[in-house]
């Protein structure tokens, strides 16, 4: 008797209206999300490091530890 379950045994659940979500439905979200994400990432990774929009080093110092820990280049 088969008592072993598959490693990945969660079943596929179809999305309403088809197997996959149409690209046209994703596109606006993709643009918005990517833009937001890039801004976030910029501030965490690069602001007041390689480039600077604001004077001073406050942003840099504030996220300093995270920057190091996530592997972004830093002084």
């Amino acid at each position: 008797m088969a008592t072993t379950a598959g490693l990945f045994d969660d079943s596929f659940i179809p999305v309403q209206g088809g197997a996959a979500i149409p690209v046209e439905d994703i596109a606006p979200w993709a643009v918005l999300g990517t833009l937001l994400a890039l801004i976030f990432l910029y501030f965490v990774s690069t602001e007041q490091g390689a480039f600077a929009l604001f004077q001073g080093t406050y942003v840099h110092e504030f996220v300093h530890d995270g920057r190091h820990l996530l592997g972004f280049p830093c002084h």
Partner: protein, 240 residues
Amino acid sequence: MLAGILAALLATLFARAFAEPQIDLAIGVEQSHSAHHMSAPHGGGSTVSEPEEEVVSRSTQKGAGLLTALALYGAAVGGIFAIVFAYGYGRFGAIGPRSLALLMAGLVFLLVVVVPAIKYPQTPPAVGKHETVGLRTAAYFAMIALSLGAAAIAGKVRAALASRSGRGFDATLLALGAYAAIVGLGQLLLPTIDEVPADFPATLLWNFRIASIATQLLMWTTIGIAFGLWAERVLKRQRG
């Protein structure tokens, strides 16, 4: 109507992906973090990293600053993850939502964290020169882009080979080889950066890098599992 459902779906997925890493990371990261900073003071030239007057106190950096940095990072990668998941779900065979999310997270960890780190490993404070931060940043992002680009090419190669020869396994092997070749070549061409001070303790460096990679691993594992659970719920609800 479909758009409305999708909007709700993505919004919920977003929220989950945004909130979840923040909560878990605040705990998990703080530990690895405090571990590396407790050892930093006797880490030789660690004072080099601190500016003359402290703009933000160490405790703020450790607490709120770190949390903000990781939260923003988690939110950003979580958002992109949600978009890629929405695209990929149902497009790469009938893989369940939880499996797909976890596989995706594992793949991203490998492509974005591990592979670039082979060439440009994470550096603790006190390692790296001020003057070269521009070059190092550019090289680091180039390495990530190279890794992702190579993976995209490898995916195309696999699809093309598999449809022509019908041998999925061989196609996968060749695609992996193509990825390794592209990344290997890129790593040879990108500038080498060696700025670890001679007197910097090797153990501290090692510990920091382990902590850093563990942080990323925790982050991506959390995204993969939490996102999968949430996506499964949303998918079940919209069907039922």
